[in-house]
């Protein structure tokens, strides 16, 4: 360690070396690690008014987590069915959105990755990126216009007399899933595209020459090769859609909450920060566990993420 530090300062010099260390240190310690620890610590504390913080009542307790599982003390049901079902539904919906994006984007990524480049490819990539530059609120807003009661789809359906009264897409969560899937398309395509692009076309040619079917080529060659890209895309889409807040707030039906909305409610409406922190921790830990176990299942390294 000592030798390493000596080496480090020899290559960077004192001024540069310290600048780098200070910048990275500030980022890692004060922005990444300490805030997470503070939140974790906070989630184990009771909700107290500011003057009582640090006082005798400010002890560590599991109450906030108990609340998520068992609900308020003295309530009728044994478990906190409302919040738990919101939690489970959020995770299932996030998985659903991830699969939807994967199925939708794989052919496109394959097509882009295997096409010979040139003008068309550039235009397609440009068209892919443009929607991603538009604010996520505005993208959700666009879906509200499309799926609303007097939205485009309902107007079209009614015009052709396919339905008599507008279909409530918002309540059915169709709008929400379409909007979420839409929001993360790019994050699914680019990791896959980057990997598939580096796949040697001769491999596919060889497989075809030896009589492999179209499905076989994908199953045995393309998908195993693209696995890092696929898992990277899936991880990002899953994490982001489970942690999405804007789209559920705008497109979510009145009866269906997203778990992040519960967190938001604890912070901004109920003023119970410690409870909100506990919920946030549960969300974070669960997502990490799911992602890590899926990565283990498919034998992918953390280092592949973000490529």
């Amino acid at each position: 360690m000592n030798g390493f530090m000596k080496d480090y300062f020899r290559t960077n010099g004192l001024a540069m070396g310290w600048t780098l260390i200070l910048l990275v240190g500030f980022w890692v310690v004060f922005l990444i690690i300490l805030p997470q620890i503070a939140m974790l610590d906070f989630s184990f504390r009771p909700n107290l008014p500011p003057p009582e913080m640090g006082g005798p009542k400010d002890i560590h307790t599991l109450d906030n987590y108990k609340y998520l599982i068992y609900g308020a003390q003295g309530s009728e049901s044994t478990y906190n069915i409302v919040d738990l079902s919101v939690f489970v539904r959020t995770l299932i919906a996030a998985v659903f959105v991830t699969i939807f994006d994967l199925v939708l984007c794989y052919p496109i990524a394959y097509y882009l990755g295997q096409s010979k480049g040139g003008g068309t490819l550039r235009v397609l990539v440009l068209l892919l990126i443009i929607p991603y530059w538009i604010n996520e609120i505005l993208r959700a807003f666009a879906f509200k216009i499309i799926f609303g009661d007097s939205g485009v789809i309902n107007e079209v359906l009614m015009f052709f007399h396919l339905v008599d009264s507008p279909i409530d897409f918002i309540k059915m969560n169709v709008a929400l899933y379409a909007g979420l899937g839409y929001a993360y398309i790019l994050l699914m395509i680019f990791p896959m595209y980057n990997v598939i692009e580096s796949l040697d076309r001769n491999q596919i040619e060889a497989a075809r020459d030896m009589g492999a079917s179209w499905a076989m080529i994908h199953r045995r060659i393309v998908i195993p090769f693209a696995k890092p890209g696929i898992s990277s895309g899936c991880t990002m889409v899953f994490m982001l859609s489970a942690g999405a807040l804007a789209a559920p707030q705008i497109l979510g039906g009145p009866s269906s909450l997203w778990f992040t909305q519960r967190v938001y409610q604890w912070f901004n409406m109920n003023g119970n920060w410690t409870q909100g922190s506990a919920y946030a921790i549960v969300l974070l830990v669960t997502c990490i566990i799911i992602v890590l176990s899926v990565m283990k299942l498919f034998k992918v390294n953390m280092g592949d993420i973000g490529k």
């Binding site: 890692v28 996520e136 807003f141 946030a280 969300l283 997502c287 993420i305």
Partner: protein, 448 residues
């Protein structure tokens, strides 16, 4: 790839479907910005208008949000580019055993939900604040300070990835050579390494600014008294939507397309220049400008785009939707009136049917004036100020007040030209006797 036409057709169809899912919502949203309907919708189309743009620019909340977004974006760019670059430089030198741990830590903010980042930033600095016994109004609890830190946490990771990609191609021998020649470390960095990383600095800054500008999840917990544009938008969209948001979206889409095209033109030009072996500046510029267009379809599109934008702006200066809108309102009112009339007629017929069970229930055919008060002379005067060519006259001779006559719709077109005032066809009784219960008997008498 297979050249079977079926597969090619399938690929094309899929591409079209995919890109209409990708771009369709944006296009539809842009269209709603020009519809005068106060709810953003494409159909039914009312009147083409620019009014939502003027409403947008008059909205002080949006202007304030824009200002906050720029302030926060500015600081976030500086902080995240600096931290991202430092992070990338350290990554290339760090002790190999620590490397994967370090990488996991600095890549984690991308994967941590933005909500969690916002909350942890808020909680941490609030605790630091109370640790030092500072009041609630200290800078540690300032919305801009918290938002910049919260956003920089993960935006730095994006920047780091950009720099890592660039640094992979850097030859450390260059720095060493500079050091051997007597440069200090700072000089070597400034004169050798930084210029090499400049393109990455540019793209990281753009990326960081965009990410900061559109961030919602983190900012929504940390903005305090400084709502950014995204926060304002989300509040507007949640409370009740109106097309001025569409107008803003349209402007953002135009800006995006514009910058994307500029970027495309520049990279094409660089490519062309490289292919010709000439420096970038030598291609295009001055008199040779038209030559850019030759090998550069993006430049043509860009030129058309700018022309269209200028044209639209000029058109917006002279275009006045008021007459068309008035006509539309009139038409809508009449239609509504007709609908009411139709309902009333139906109810009357029902009554008639009840009282006279004969084959002649369609008697009101002979009735002349079932048009209701839509053409009450008083109303006409109100809705027809001066010389405006809107003369919502019609042929009320039809039964059921013309409610079921589709031709009538065309007659009162918004251009007002077709609709000639036909004073002769004016109903004798303005109320058409529809509301007069005594008429029931009269009509019945006639038909009998």
């Amino acid at each position: 790839m297979t050249n079977s036409p079926l597969i090619r057709f399938g690929i094309m169809a899929y591409l079209i479907l995919f890109f209409s899912y990708l771009l369709g919502p944006l296009i539809l949203m842009s269209i709603t910005a020009f519809n005068s309907s106060s709810f953003p919708q494409v159909a039914p189309w009312e009147v083409f208008t620019f009014e939502w743009f003027s409403e947008l620019f008059a909205d002080e909340q949006i202007i304030e949000g824009l200002r906050n977004s720029f302030i926060i974006g500015f600081f976030t760019v500086i902080l995240s580019v600096a931290m991202g670059m430092a992070g990338a430089l350290v990554l290339t030198q760090i002790w190999p055993k620590l490397r994967s741990t370090y990488y996991t830590i600095i890549i984690a903010p991308i994967l941590i939900p933005g909500v969690v980042l916002g909350i942890s930033t808020l909680v941490f600095w609030q605790r630091v604040n109370s640790l030092f016994g500072l009041p609630d109004t200290s800078f540690l609890q300032d919305g801009i300070f918290l938002t910049v830190l919260g956003q920089s946490t993960f935006i730095s990771s994006y920047c780091m990835l950009v720099f890592v990609a660039r640094l992979q191609r850097y030859d450390t021998g260059l720095t060493e050579a500079a050091l051997d020649l007597g440069a200090t470390h700072v000089q070597a960095f400034k004169k050798i390494q930084l210029p090499f990383m400049m393109p990455a600095v540019g793209s990281a800054s753009v990326l960081a600014f965009l990410a900061s500008f559109e961030n919602y999840n983190t900012t929504t917990f940390t903005f305090m008294d400084y709502p950014t544009l995204t926060i304002i938008l989300s509040q507007k969209v949640r409370l009740g939507i109106n097309p001025s948001v569409s107008a803003l979206a349209f402007l953002i889409i135009c800006l995006t397309v514009f910058f994307a095209l500029v970027h495309e033109v520049r990279s094409r030009r660089a490519q062309l220049a490289e292919a010709n072996g000439a420096p970038v500046g030598a291609v295009g510029g001055g008199f040779r400008a038209p030559k850019i267009f030759a090998g550069n379809p993006a430049a043509v599109v860009l030129a058309l785009f700018v022309a269209a934008a200028v044209g639209t702006l000029l058109f917006a200066q002279v275009y006045d939707p008021t007459p068309a809108k008035k006509a539309f309102m009139e038409k809508k009112r009449i239609e509504q009136q007709k609908r009411i009339e139709a309902v009333k007629e139906r109810m009357r017929l029902k009554k008639l049917r009840k009282s006279f069970k004969g084959p002649d229930i369609f008697a009101p055919k002979k009735e002349k004036s079932a048009f209701g008060n839509a053409f009450d002379p008083k109303n006409l005067n109100n809705s027809r100020p001066g010389t405006k060519p809107l003369k919502p006259g019609s042929k009320p001779v039809a039964p059921f007040g013309g409610a079921f006559n589709t031709k009538n719709l065309g007659d009162i077109g918004p251009d007002g030209k077709k609709a000639k005032p036909k004073s002769s066809t004016k109903p004798k009784s303005p109320f058409g006797g529809v509301f007069d219960p005594s008429n029931l008997g009269k009509v019945g008498g006639k038909t009998n």
